[in-house]
């Protein structure tokens, strides 16, 4: 998956008042990488993503995103309930980013049908988000983020609202989408299995003040089905991640 560096983060630090929450984070992501950011709760993972997306200010360091195009960037928030628009029906929620760009209706319809197919979304698009289950709302947020075919995708706890079966399903669907459109994905997770399952690069973060404990390459080929979870490769990578995590948690 190498066709140039897409995201370069160097010496990134963030302090709130005098309190350093992120200390000296550096990593790189190549175009088309799926990077998992894995670390303990409260380690500032969301803050890191917010800084990279420009929502939050950094205190120190450098963030470079090659040829950044705001129209080709999507961010799926952890709190999907507060980012979906309950006054728009499901169809209009998915279409929202395209409506902002005044895309023609025919094109909108075509893309929504494609999203429905990729995510095997069966719920009625004429309903409203609050009429869906938490899991379906999460998928709705995915479809809304991916309908613009982003080159860079940030996801905060992508599978948090789902039960295990749907969690596995969405992991597969995300891989399916990725194999077709090859966006660079940065995904925050606190679930080690999710991280090792979908990412080709796992950044293990420490407790606060957060730093990078280790960056672990995870070279197994895609698509990684559920059988990958039983493989030796999976077990070995998971062990490495766990060891790094424990080192980081003890700091």
């Amino acid at each position: 998956m190498t066709s140039g560096k897409e995201i370069v983060v160097k010496g990134l630090a963030k302090s709130f008042d005098e309190n350093e929450v992120i200390s000296n984070i550096s990593f790189e992501a190549e175009k088309g990488d799926i990077v998992a950011i894995f670390g303990p709760n409260g380690s500032g993972k969301s803050t890191l993503l917010n800084i990279l997306s420009g929502i939050a200010e950094k205190t120190k360091g450098k963030v470079e995103i090659a040829d950044f195009n705001p129209n080709k960037f999507s961010y799926i928030f952890q709190n999907y309930r507060e980012s979906l628009l309950p006054w728009r029906n499901n169809y209009e929620n998915i279409a929202f980013p395209l409506r902002l760009g005044k895309t023609e209706e025919e094109e909108v319809r075509r893309k929504i049908v494609e999203m429905e197919r990729i995510f095997s979304f069966k719920a009625n698009l004429g309903l409203y988000p609050y009429e869906l289950s938490g899991g379906q709302q999460q998928i709705l947020a995915f479809m809304r983020a991916l309908i613009t075919e982003p080159e860079i995708l940030f996801i905060d706890e992508p599978f948090s609202a789902l039960d295990y079966g749907n969690n596995l399903l969405l992991r597969n669907q995300l891989q399916k989408y990725h194999s077709k459109y090859k966006p660079t994905i940065l995904a925050i997770t606190h679930d080690i299995e999710e991280a090792v399952h979908i990412a080709n690069k796992i950044i293990v973060l420490s407790n606060k003040p957060t730093r990078v404990v280790e960056i672990i390459e995870n070279e197994a080929p895609y698509p990684r089905g559920t059988e990958f979870l039983n493989s030796q490769k999976f077990a070995a990578t998971k062990k490495k991640v766990l060891e790094a995590f424990q080192r980081g948690a003890m700091q």
Binding site: P70, F77, E82, L85, Y130
Partner: protein
């Protein structure tokens, strides 16, 4: 309609009936509910009150309409800028705390003793409530959806039209519902002043002067009923428009 809705009505009439029947007060000053309802039905049936109901409803309709047309855009405008809102907050809160009917004499001076002064003072009082609630609805918009829309490349006006306006609607509706009740109160009270020839407020005062106590109570009931019905209609509209509220 809520399940226990009827209990309140029955309770009101039962207490009234008991108090009237045991003659706690002189029967002349407190007639029983049945007599009052029969009298009211007769007035309605014969059309005696038509002109009064019509006059009050037209005044209320105009006052409420003006309050909506002026209040919502103004509230949105003020809410959109904390600086502007802070600079006029005192004026809004001052007049909101003052009974609008207390400044009716001022409106009489400006608008004269015909209908326009009544409509203007009711519109003024109602608009303040709408402005206050709409502005607060806009100011209290949660940042998460705005941030999400910004990241999708939404421009200021787009964020306003597709997020802020909708987020403020539940609070705006609280203002709208409060304002129609307030407008009715102000219209009825101002109708009791000079220069009114028709209107439910006028009729209440007239019946009081001529000791038609039954008729007076009947119109009080009717006025309350109208206020209640208007609130109910607005609540239904609110449920349709703000369908996501509380979900």
């Amino acid at each position: 309609m809520k399940k226990n809705f009827l209990i309140g009505i029955i309770l009101l009439f039962a207490v009234w009936w008991v108090v009237a029947t045991v003659h706690v007060l002189d029967a002349f000053f407190l007639p029983g509910p049945i007599e009052v309802l029969i009298d009211l039905a007769q007035m309605l049936w014969t059309g005696t009150l038509n002109a009064d109901i019509y006059a009050t409803m037209v005044r209320l309709g105009l006052a409420f309409g003006i309050a909506l047309i002026a209040g919502i855009p103004l509230g949105i405008l003020l809410g959109a800028s904390t600086k502007i809102y802070e600079s006029v907050e005192f004026i809004i809160d001052f007049f909101r705390s003052l009974p609008a009917t207390a400044i009716f004499p001022l409106f009489l001076l400006v608008f004269g003793i015909d209908d326009s002064s009544k409509i203007a003072v009711a519109a003024f009082g109602a608009a303040l409530v709408i402005i206050f609630n709409t502005a607060h609805g806009v100011m209290n918009t949660k940042p998460s959806r705005i941030i999400a829309a910004k990241l999708m490349g939404a421009k200021k006006l787009q964020i306003f039209k597709s997020i802020v306006f909708w987020e403020s609607l539940p609070q705006t509706f609280i203002g709208i519902r409060t304002s129609i009740s307030l407008a009715l109160v102000i219209i009825i009270v101002t109708e009791m002043f000079i220069g009114t020839y028709a209107g439910l407020g006028r009729r209440i005062i007239d019946f009081q002067y001529i000791y038609n106590v039954k008729g007076m109570f009947g119109i009080i009931l009717l006025t309350g009923g109208i206020g209640y019905a208007l609130n109910l209609i607005l609540a239904k509209i609110e449920d349709k428009v703000v369908h996501w509220k509380g979900k």
